[in-house]
């Protein structure tokens, strides 16, 4: 099954990226935006205070900070979080070819929901 095959390969790649980028972070191979030994000062703060104090933007701004040791980890995290979208994109044409219109529409709708969530359009407000 195409969904299972893509998921299987994707998870393996994602975990490898996660481990490598985490090693880069904790061994301080690349300078971090927040030095790893200073993070305990911030991790008890609510997220909006943490973002304001550390001058971090929301949404996909992490893409522009991939040169920082802490943000390079987001490559693996985003890769794994995006795997389901990739699987749905692969399986949706199968429903179309089988003339399974209900599941074709449901799959398209799911892709829409996941892309909306991933887009960063949706804010979380603040405490």
């Amino acid at each position: 099954m195409i969904y299972a095959r893509i998921l299987d390969g994707g998870v393996r790649i994602g975990v490898v990226i996660l481990v490598i980028t985490f090693a880069i972070y904790v061994f301080e191979i690349i300078t971090s935006h927040i030095p790893v030994n200073e993070l305990p000062k911030y991790w008890g703060l609510p997220v909006h205070e943490y973002l304001a104090t550390c001058k971090i933007s929301t949404g996909w701004s992490w893409l522009g900070m991939l040169g920082k040791g802490d943000f390079v980890n987001f490559m693996g995290i985003a890769f794994l979080a995006g795997m389901t979208i990739v699987c749905y994109v692969a399986v949706t044409p199968v429903f179309y070819r089988k003339k399974d219109s209900a599941f074709f529409i449901l799959s398209l709708a799911e892709i829409g929901v996941l892309i909306l969530a991933a887009s960063g359009i949706l804010g979380g407000g603040g405490h």
């Binding site: 099954m1 969904y3 299972a4 095959r5 998921l7 299987d8 994707g10 998870v11 994602g14 975990v15 996660l18 481990v19 980028t21 985490f22 972070y25 904790v26 790893v36 030994n37 993070l39 305990p40 000062k41 991790w43 008890g44 609510p46 997220v47 943490y50 973002l51 929301t58 949404g59 996909w60 802490d70 980890n73 987001f74 693996g76 995290i77 985003a78 794994l80 979080a81 995006g82 795997m83 389901t84 399986v91 209900a102 599941f103 449901l106 799959s107 799911e110 929901v113 996941l114 909306l116 969530a117 991933a118 887009s119 960063g120 949706l122 804010g123 979380g124 407000g125 603040g126 405490h127």
Partner: protein, 328 residues
């Protein structure tokens, strides 16, 4: 602290780490590492290397991973109340990490469950559309509401899950006399091979609209609290909709890979993800799950399940009382 004593601590940080881990396990108190005094602190400040926390988190999640497999629960439902209740990280980051922990566990299990025909894609897709949509709503609510309200609601939800685990009966092969119109139209039915008997089991479902309605709540819960919500998925699929138990458990696990994905993106895009918290937790839970599967045959599931229920009860009470300001 004298210079000699300080130098001794610097040379032997493990002694302090081990002491605090022991204290944590015995007393259920927050630990202190680094310069910062964590909220709800009850231990005197000590100087520890920054890596003490991720290391401790790795070992705790390793144990959680083992218990989750042996107790038949998802890692996320253990992770959020325990780490949120006993570690110094803010609940926002714990929920973000909890979603990613549950997501990665589901992603890793997904291929195997689909290939064996245990998780059913046709059952998953309509349900996932509901849960993933409402998980976004839950995630946005969770990040917008005051922390003490989310903490209190988390405690109440975990205690509710404990009640479900304690009371709900499971039906191996629920009787479904006639599939309902919606599941018939969507052709949601299947056959899976029961390995223990070698039989092919045909199944169909009923009460699909009611089930989908309940999944809106499950989605909100998953997104708001960062828990996998498998404990809520299974009773709806099995007891209400009539899917066989194994299909329900496997489909529930697979569903988390879709539900938690949408909610996880909301947390990622709102900055509520700390890699130092997320990566050791994912690795710990994954390795724990592998160890758990290996020792599964040698353990008594009922005894382990009682331990898991006990831990969840304690963690749920802690979250509830912390949210209410009674047990800071």
């Amino acid at each position: 602290m004298g210079l000699n004593e300080y130098q001794e601590k610097q040379r032997m940080p493990w002694r302090g780490v081990c002491f605090q881990i022991l204290y944590f396990l015995l007393m259920g108190q927050n630990l202190v590492f680094g310069d910062e005094i964590a909220p709800s602190l009850s231990l005197p400040t000590s100087q520890f290397p920054w890596w003490g926390w991720p290391l401790l988190l790795f070992f705790v999640t390793l144990i959680m991973g083992i218990l989750a497999v042996l107790g038949g629960v998802g890692g996320g439902v253990l992770f959020v109340p325990i780490v949120g209740g006993f570690f110094p990280f803010h609940l926002d980051f714990v929920r973000g990490a909890g979603l990613l922990v549950a997501l990665c566990g589901a992603l890793a299990a997904g291929p195997g469950l689909l290939r064996r025909g245990m998780a059913d894609l046709r059952l998953s897709i309509p349900v996932a559309l509901i849960t993933s949509s409402f998980a976004i709503v839950g995630a946005m609510l969770g990040l917008a509401l005051p922390t003490h309200i989310v903490q209190t609601a988390l405690g109440a939800t975990i205690l509710g899950i404990v009640l479900i685990m304690f009371l709900a009966k499971k039906s191996e092969y629920p009787e479904v006399r006639k599939a309902d119109a919606l599941s018939t139209a969507l052709k949601i039915s299947g056959v899976y091979n029961e390995v223990s008997t070698g039989q092919d089991i045909a199944w169909k479902i009923h009460r699909t609209p009611q089930g989908l309605l309940l999944f809106t709540l499950v989605g909100v819960m998953a997104g708001m609290f960062g828990i996998g919500a498998g404990a809520a998925n299974v009773p709806v699929l099995n007891l209400l909709m009539g899917a066989p138990l194994k299909v329900s458990v496997a489909t529930s696990k697979f569903l988390l890979s879709i539900t938690d994905s949408s909610a996880a993106w909301v947390y990622i895009n709102n900055g509520a993800v700390l890699p130092l918290l997320v990566v050791p937790s994912i690795m710990g839970i994954m390795l724990g799950s592998i160890v758990g599967v290996k020792i599964l045959a040698k353990t008594k599931p009922a005894a382990v399940r009682s331990i898991v229920i006990g831990i969840l009860l304690l963690a749920g009470l802690r979250a509830l009382l912390k949210g209410l300001g009674i047990w800071e």
